[in-house]
């Protein structure tokens, strides 16, 4: 790591940390727009799109090289996960899972850049705050989770039908044969199913956010150490963090596929 924090903050560890956790944003309250988060997420999206288009247009089946090989490996890996976890066929699942995996992975990977590097560059350019890792901002994981949640609802309705979807809330997870008991159970069922459905995207989003936020925080804390000792914990944490960013991207991808796979199943007969 570098010791730029002294030039950036220079007040004390608390200010330094707060400075690092402060987004570059415009607007107030809900209408706050985190420019840095959006910029990096969007920039990575553009990068992925650019590479994807370039490779996709120049596919060489007989003599694959470099990036095409890498993407083929990732694609086969993701495709295998989809095949294992998603029953039935939906053309959207594969590209969706691939995009989530690659995008989340690259956004997480921003964490591996020296924690002060980009903020320092930004300060030099006159930008006061910069939070580099998009997934360490609650908005990004939750936006992905919300998109997946919308898809879960759509898949549910598609697989079960509108009435089936409503039935899922009314008679699940506590089915009953007696009509009276059935009606009594309805409020509980609605509550339970709502919690169950909402907990899926929220847990998914918060898991990713928590991991990345904590990881970033530890990088910041390491950056507070004297410069000549930083490389020991910093190096160890960075190496370990490679595992975390990959794992979190993988978990997010896999959970998306699994949840959509569950949503895609037709409603089982009451039992």
């Amino acid at each position: 790591m570098n010791e730029a924090h002294e030039t950036v903050a220079g007040h004390g560890p608390v200010e330094y940390i707060q400075h690092h956790l402060h987004n570059l944003s415009i607007g107030e309250g809900f209408w706050t727009f985190h420019i840095d988060t959006f910029f990096f997420a969007f920039g990575i999206a553009i990068l992925i799109g650019f590479v994807a288009k370039k490779i996709g247009d120049n596919l060489n089946p007989d003599n694959p090289t470099g990036m095409q090989n890498l993407l083929e490996i990732i694609l086969e890996f993701v495709g295998q996960q989809v095949k294992d976890a998603f029953n039935g066929y939906n053309p959207l699942i594969g590209p969706l899972a691939l995009t989530i995996f690659v995008w989340v992975f690259l956004m997480n990977a921003m964490d591996l850049l020296p924690v002060d590097l980009l903020p320092w560059v930004a300060t030099e350019m006159g930008i006061p705050y910069l939070k580099v890792v998009p997934t360490a901002n609650l908005d990004t994981p939750l936006s992905l989770a919300a998109s997946v949640f919308m898809l879960i609802v759509i898949f549910n309705i598609k697989a079960k039908g509108g009435i089936g979807f409503v039935n899922m809330f009314l008679f699940h997870p506590f089915p009953a044969d007696n009509p009276v008991v059935k009606i009594i159970l309805i409020p509980f069922n609605i509550m339970m199913t709502t919690i169950e459905e909402l907990s899926k995207p929220i847990s998914m989003g918060l898991r990713l956010f928590g991991n990345m936020f904590a990881g970033e925080l530890i990088f910041i804390l390491i950056a507070l150490l004297p410069w000549w000792v930083q490389f020991i914990p910093g190096g160890l944490w960075a190496i370990f963090h490679i595992l975390i960013i990959t794992l979190q991207a993988f978990i997010f991808m896999l959970l998306t596929v699994v949840y959509l796979g569950m949503a895609n199943q037709a409603l089982e007969a009451d039992h």
């Binding site: 607007g27 706050t32 727009f33 959006f38 999206a45 288009k53 083929e72 959207l92």
Partner: protein, 156 residues
């Protein structure tokens, strides 16, 4: 840390990125990889078939070779047999021809001998008769001594 409008910006970005990846990477690449898998499978199957064909062809070729060798041996045998037959026939013909010519020659010689004997006999008789006529003159009656004459001719 609270939810802000950035969330919706990210959602839109995400949606566009998924569609883009789908259209330009996932679609073409999966198609390509399926094609390649199929082509590799086809190629392997073809090579397997080729190997089998080769084996069959080799077997057939070996069979042909054996047959050809057999045929050649048969032909040589037949030719040898025929050659010896022809030789035997020629020998036989030669022998017969020789014998025939010999016989003819012998017969001719005999004929010549007989003719010469006859001629000689006649000459001798005539000569003897002339000589006897000249020596005996009229004293010898041809008719009286005819039997003696015939006896002499027979002796000759």
């Amino acid at each position: 840390m609270s939810i802000t409008v950035t969330l919706f910006g990210q959602m839109i970005t995400f949606g566009i990125l998924v569609l883009f990846i789908w259209k330009y990477l996932w679609g073409p690449m999966t198609t390509m990889m399926e094609d390649r898998t199929k082509r590799i499978a086809d190629g392997l199957a073809a090579s397997e078939r080729g190997k089998q064909d080769l084996e069959i062809a080799q077997q057939r070729a070996a069979q042909r070779l054996r047959e050809a060798k057999q045929d050649a041996a048969d032909i040589v045998n037949a030719a040898n047999k025929r050659a010896s037959e022809i030789i035997e026939e020629s020998k036989e013909q030669g022998r017969q021809e020789g014998k025939r010519q010999l016989d003819a020659a012998v017969a001719e010689i005999e004929q010549e001998i007989n003719r010469a004997k006859g001629d000689l006999r006649r000459h001798f008789i005539n000569l003897t008769l002339d000589t006897a006529k000249k020596v005996l003159g009229r004293e010898i009656d041809a008719s009286a001594h005819n039997d003696i004459m015939n006896e002499m001719i027979k002796k000759l």
